[in-house]
C-alpha cells in the first residue's frame, strides 16, 4: 500500500517536474543565447570604441604630421635659398618652428632636431653625440621617402624619459627633420573621457609600449605597462575576446592597429557588459524560485486531495461490498443506473427505466409483501415521500434467490448532495441479522410469558395461602370470643382453649412451612453440610415413626439395605424430606394399615457420589390420577370423598419436591385409589473422604468439642503448630502462648469462662508450666480455680507428674500429644 501511495505521489509530481524541467531548460537556453548576444554586442561596441579611439588618435597624429611636413617643407625651402647655413642658423630656424608649433597646438614640449648635411642639429639634444647613421629615425625617414616615420617609444636623455620621434625627409635631400613627442603630451592631445565605466584605453607603439592611457587607475604609465604586456600576451595566446585581468575579472579586449603600427586597446569589464544580463538573470532566478515554490505547493495540495479521495474511495469500496446492489435513480426521467450490482442475484441492464427495474424485482419479493414493496418503491410514492421531507426510507423484505428466500434490507436515500432529482436505491442482505432478531423476539416473548405465568401462580399462591391462614386464625378468634362468653363454664372454656391451642399450632406449622418454601425458593437456605452416617440417620428417623405408628395402631416396617457409610450432605434436608413423606404415609393410612420404609444403596455416581434410594409404601387411601398431577402444587389437597380429613398445611409435598430438586435427586410417586401409594426418592450424596470406624458411639472425638477454646502453652514452634492445627481442624479455637508468662497473661486477658481447657507444656523458658499453673490458679476469676489444666510432659516420670499435680494441674499427657487421648481429656474435663 505504501509503495502504491508513493508511486502515485511520484506520478503527480513527475508531471509537474517534467514541466518544470522543461521550463528550466528553455530558460537556460534563452539565457545562454541572450548572454551570447549581449557579449556579441559588447564586442561590437568594444571594437567600435577602440576603432573610434584609433581614428581620433590617427587624426590627431596626422595633424602633427602635417605640421611637421610643412615645417620640413619650409625648412627645405629655406635651405635651398642659401647653401651655407650655419648650424646656429638652422638651430634658430628649428627654434622658430618649435615655438610656432607650441603656440598652435597647445602642446608644450616639442624637441625639434634635424639632420642637415649629415650633421645633427638640435638645441635640446644635450651632450649626446650621436652618429647620424645610428639614428633610427633618420634611416626610417629616409626610407619612407616623404612620409613621416615614427619610432617606437624609447628612453632618451639623462632622465630616461620615454620619447617618440617623428621624422620626415626634407624634399629629396638626405636631410631629415625630426620632432620628439613625449607621450604625456599626447595625453593632452587625446584626453577624452567618453569611455565606458571601468574600461581602460591604451595607445601603444608597435612594440607594445604604452604611449597613452585613459582610465581611472591613477597609475603611472610604467606601472601600467605590465598590465598591457599581459594583455598582449593574452591576445597572442588565444583568440578569445576576453582576458582575465590582474584582479581576476574578465574583460573584453578590443584593439585596432592603425596604419602607423600603433595599437589602440580598449578593455571593458564583463560585469559592465553583462550588467543587464546579470540583472535579467537575477530576476529570472527569482521568478523560477517562485514558480518552484508554487509547483511544490500545488503538488502537496494535489497529494492531499488525492489522499482524501483515495480514502473516500476505499471506504466506499468497502461499504459497497456489503451491499448486494446499488442503483442510482433519476426521479425526473424515471431512469436508473447501476452503481453496483451482484449480477448473480440481479440480472439487470446497466441502465434503463426504473419501472422495468421494479418489475424485475417485484416477483422476487415474497408474495405477501410484494404489493407493499411495489407500492413503497413506486416512483410516485418516492416523490411523494421526498416532498414530505422523508428522504431515507425502506424496509425489510424477503426476497427469493434461486430456491430460497433471504431477508433483504431495501432502502432509498435522497440527498441534496446528489442533486435534486437523484436518489440512491440499495439492497443489503441481512439474513443472519434478521434471524437473530427474530430469535431475540421469540426469547423475549418466552420470557414475558414465563414472567406472566409466574406472576399468575404467585397470585394464586397468595390467595390460597391467605385463605388457609385465615381459617385457623378465625378459629382462634372465634374460640376466644366463645370462651369469653362462657367464662364461667370451665369445661367449655377448657375445650375452647384446647381448640385454640391446636389451631395456633396449625397456624404456626403453616407459617413455618410457608417460610420454608419461600426460603427454598429464594435459595437463601444455608445448606449445612454435615458428615453423618446414613444408616444412623435413617434409623433415627425410622424410630420416631415406628413409635408413632404403634400409637396409631398401624404397622410400620423398616428395611435398610446398606452398610454403615459416611456421607457429606444436608442432613436436615434429608430429614425434612423423609419426615414429610413418612408422615403423609402415616396420615393417609387407616389403622391396621401397613407402612414400609426401605433404604437402599444404589450405584455410585462420578465424583465420589453415592446414590441412596428411599422407598415409602403404604396401603392407604391412595390418590387419584387427577390429584397426582397437582400433588406438588402448594395447598392442594385431595378433595375426594373417602379421604380422611387430615391436619396439614398442604405444603408438604411442595417442600419435598423443592428439596429433592435441590439435592439434584428424583422423586416418583405411584398411587392407586384405595390401594395405596408408593413414593420412591433417589438422592445422591457426596461420600465422606474418611470413613471413621464404628467405635464412634463410645469414643469421644475432638470434633465433638468444636467451638471450645483451648489455651496452649508450648515454647516449641512446630509442636505448637501441630497441636493448633489439630484443634482448629476439628473446630476448636486456640489461644497460643510461647511460655508460662504469656500463658498467664493470655488467660487473664480472656473473658471469664471462654477458655475451656489449658494445655501446659512443662518445660518453657521464662516461666515453666508449674509456675504458670500456680499463678493461674491464684487469679481472681471465677474460672481460675476450675479451668482444667493438662500438663504436657516429655516423660512420665513420677516426679514431674507429682510436681504438676502439686502446682494445681488436673491431668497430664505425655508428648507427643495423641488425638484420641486429647479427646478423652476434653471429654472428661469439659462438662458439656
Amino acid at each position: 500500500m505504501d509503495l502504491k501511495l508513493f508511486d502515485r505521489k511520484f506520478k503527480i509530481s513527475l508531471f509537474s517536474m517534467v514541466i518544470f524541467a522543461f521550463f528550466i531548460l528553455v530558460a537556460v537556453i534563452s539565457l545562454h543565447v541572450v548572454r551570447e548576444k549581449i557579449l556579441e554586442n559588447s564586442h561590437i561596441m568594444g571594437e567600435e570604441i577602440s576603432a573610434r579611439f584609433a581614428i581620433r588618435e590617427t587624426t590627431r597624429i596626422k595633424s602633427q604630421e602635417m605640421l611637421l611636413r610643412s615645417a620640413a617643407q619650409s625648412m627645405g625651402a629655406r635651405l635651398s635659398l642659401k647653401s651655407d647655413w650655419t648650424d646656429a642658423e638652422i638651430e634658430q630656424a628649428l627654434q622658430q618652428f618649435t615655438e610656432y608649433m607650441e603656440r598652435n597646438t597647445g602642446v608644450i614640449r616639442f624637441n625639434m632636431c634635424a639632420v642637415i648635411n649629415d650633421r645633427l642639429i638640435g638645441s635640446r639634444l644635450g651632450e649626446q653625440d650621436i652618429q647620424t647613421a645610428n639614428l633610427k629615425w633618420y634611416q626610417a625617414a629616409l626610407a619612407r621617402n616623404g612620409d613621416v616615420a615614427y619610432t617606437n617609444l624609447y628612453q632618451y636623455g639623462s632622465r630616461k624619459e620615454y620619447v617618440l620621434t617623428m621624422a620626415v625627409r626634407i624634399g629629396h635631400s638626405d636631410d631629415v627633420l625630426a620632432m620628439n613627442l613625449y607621450p604625456e603630451q599626447l595625453n593632452s592631445l587625446l584626453a577624452d573621457n567618453r569611455l565606458p565605466r571601468q574600461s581602460y584605453y591604451y595607445l601603444c607603439d608597435p612594440n607594445g609600449n604604452i604611449m597613452f592611457a585613459i582610465n581611472d587607475r591613477n597609475l603611472s604609465l610604467e606601472k601600467q605597462q605590465p598590465y598591457v604586456d599581459h594583455i598582449f600576451n593574452e591576445i597572442r595566446r588565444k583568440n578569445d575576446r576576453y582576458i582575465v585581468d590582474l584582479e581576476g575579472n574578465r574583460r573584453g579586449v578590443y584593439y585596432t592597429v592603425s596604419d602607423k603600427g600603433w595599437i589602440s586597446v580598449v578593455t571593458i569589464p564583463y560585469d559592465f557588459l553583462l550588467g543587464d544580463y546579470q540583472n535579467l538573470l537575477q530576476w529570472l532566478v527569482l521568478l523560477l524560485g517562485i514558480f518552484a515554490v508554487m509547483v511544490l505547493l500545488l503538488s502537496m495540495r494535489e497529494y492531499a486531495l488525492n489522499k482524501q479521495v483515495r480514502v473516500i474511495n476505499d471506504v466506499v469500496q468497502v461499504m459497497s461490498k456489503s451491499f448486494l446492489a446499488v442503483f442510482k435513480v433519476n426521479l425526473r426521467t424515471g431512469r436508473y443506473t447501476v452503481v453496483k450490482s451482484d449480477n448473480k442475484s440481479f440480472d439487470l441492464l446497466p441502465e434503463g427505466q426504473y419501472e422495468d427495474l421494479l418489475q424485475k424485482l417485484i416477483p422476487m419479493v415474497e408474495p405477501e409483501t410484494a404489493e407493499e414493496f411495489a407500492e413503497t418503491f413506486s416512483l410516485a410514492n418516492i416523490n411523494e415521500l421526498i416532498k414530505k421531507q422523508i428522504n431515507d426510507f425502506g424496509g425489510e423484505f424477503r426476497q427469493r434467490f434461486g430456491n430460497e428466500y433471504k431477508w433483504m434490507n431495501v432502502r432509498l436515500l435522497w440527498d441534496k448532495l446528489l442533486g435534486e432529482d437523484e436518489a440512491i436505491f440499495f439492497f443489503r442482505e441481512v439474513e443472519a441479522e434478521k434471524l437473530k432478531e427474530l430469535e431475540h423476539m421469540q426469547l423475549t416473548e418466552h420470557a414475558l410469558k414465563a414472567a406472566r405465568e409466574n406472576a399468575k401462580s404467585r397470585n394464586m399462591f397468595f390467595s390460597a395461602m391467605s385463605h388457609d391462614m385465615r381459617a385457623p386464625l378465625n378459629g382462634i378468634i372465634g374460640m376466644a370470643e366463645l370462651a369469653d362468653l362462657h367464662k364461667n363454664d370451665t369445661a367449655l372454656v377448657e375445650s375452647y382453649i384446647q381448640k385454640i391451642k391446636s389451631s395456633g399450632k396449625q397456624l404456626l406449622t403453616l407459617i413455618n412451612d410457608i417460610l420454608e418454601m419461600a426460603r427454598l425458593d429464594e435459595g437463601k437456605v444455608e445448606h449445612l453440610q454435615k458428615t453423618f452416617d446414613m444408616v444412623e440417620a435413617v434409623k433415627e428417623i425410622g424410630e420416631v415413626f415406628a413409635a408413632q405408628a404403634e400409637l396409631e395402631h398401624k404397622y410400620f416396617e423398616q428395611e435398610f439395605l446398606l452398610e454403615s457409610e459416611f456421607v457429606n450432605g444436608d442432613l436436615q434436608g434429608l430429614q425434612q424430606i423423609l419426615n414429610n413423606v413418612l408422615s403423609n404415609a402415616l396420615k393417609y393410612t387407616q389403622p391396621n394399615g401397613k407402612i414400609s420404609f426401605m433404604v437402599r444403596r444404589e450405584q455410585n455416581l462420578k465424583n465420589r457420589r453415592g446414590v441412596f434410594s428411599f422407598i415409602v409404601q403404604d396401603t392407604g387411601c391412595g390418590m387419584s390420577e387427577k390429584f397426582l398431577e397437582k400433588i406438588y402444587e402448594p395447598f392442594e389437597r385431595d378433595s375426594r370423598f373417602g379421604v380422611p380429613h387430615v391436619i396439614g398445611t398442604g405444603l408438604g409435598m411442595t417442600i419435598v419436591k423443592s428439596l429433592v430438586e435441590r439435592f439434584e435427586g428424583t422423586i416418583n410417586i405411584s398411587s392407586k385409589v384405595d390401594k395405596g401409594t408408593c413414593v420412591i426418592i433417589s438422592l445422591p450424596f457426596q461420600l465422606a473422604a474418611e470413613q471413621s470406624d464404628h467405635r464412634r458411639k463410645d469414643v469421644p472425638k475432638l470434633k465433638d468439642f468444636a467451638g471450645c477454646q483451648v489455651l496452649v502453652a508450648d515454647d516449641n514452634d512446630i509442636s505448637m503448630e501441630i497441636i493448633t492445627e489439630l484443634l482448629t481442624m476439628n473446630g476448636l479455637k486456640v489461644l497460643a502462648a510461647a511460655n508460662g508468662r504469656e500463658a498467664v497473661e493470655k488467660f487473664a486477658a480472656a473473658p471469664v469462662g471462654s477458655v475451656s481447657m489449658i494445655l501446659m507444656d512443662m518445660q518453657m523458658p521464662e516461666m515453666d508450666g508449674c509456675e504458670a499453673s500456680r499463678q493461674i490458679r491464684r487469679l481472681m476469676r471465677r474460672d481460675a480455680e476450675n479451668v482444667p489444666i493438662v500438663a504436657l510432659t516429655g516423660n512420665s516420670s513420677s516426679e514431674d507428674v507429682e510436681a504438676a499435680m502439686q502446682a494445681g494441674m488436673n491431668n497430664y499427657m505425655v508428648k507427643p500429644v495423641q488425638m484420641k487421648l486429647l479427646a478423652k481429656m476434653l471429654d472428661e474435663h469439659i462438662h458439656r
Partner: protein, 119 residues
C-alpha cells in the same frame, strides 16, 4: 517419593502418627515434615553446645526431641533423648556432648534428605 515409602529409608512410625496426631491426613503430616526441614534445629543445638550455652542447648534439644516424637521419627527421638539426658546430667564434658551430637548428625541428614524428596 511417597510418604509411605519413607519407611524404607528411615525409622518412621507413619501409621501411628497419622492416626494419633494428624487425623489421618497425609497432607498435613507431610506439611509438618517439611517444616522440620525448614528450621535447622540440629545446627542450632550444635552451635549452642559449641558456645557452652548448656541451658539453652538443653531446652532446644528437648524441644527437638519432642517434635521428632510428634512426627514419628523414632530413631531421632531416641538419640535426642540420650543427648537430653546427657545435658541434664552432672559432670559431662563438652567433648562428650559434641561427640554425641556428631553421632546424631548422619541420621538427621538422611532424614532431611528423605523429607526433601517427598512429593
Amino acid at each position: 517419593m511417597k510418604l509411605r515409602e519413607l519407611q524404607k529409608f528411615i525409622n518412621i512410625a507413619i501409621a501411628e502418627s497419622l492416626e494419633e496426631r494428624f487425623m489421618d491426613s497425609e497432607e498435613l503430616y507431610v506439611r509438618f515434615l517439611h517444616k522440620l526441614d525448614a528450621a535447622d534445629e540440629l545446627a542450632a543445638v550444635e552451635q549452642l553446645i559449641k558456645q557452652e550455652n548448656w541451658q539453652e542447648a538443653l531446652r532446644r534439644a528437648h524441644n527437638l526431641k519432642g517434635v521428632c516424637g510428634s512426627l514419628g521419627l523414632v530413631t531421632l527421638q531416641e538419640k535426642l533423648a540420650e543427648l537430653v539426658k546427657l545435658l541434664r546430667s552432672e559432670g559431662f564434658t563438652k567433648a562428650q556432648a559434641q561427640a554425641m551430637l556428631a553421632a546424631i548428625k548422619p541420621e538427621w541428614e538422611k532424614t532431611l534428605a528423605c523429607i526433601r524428596g517427598l512429593e
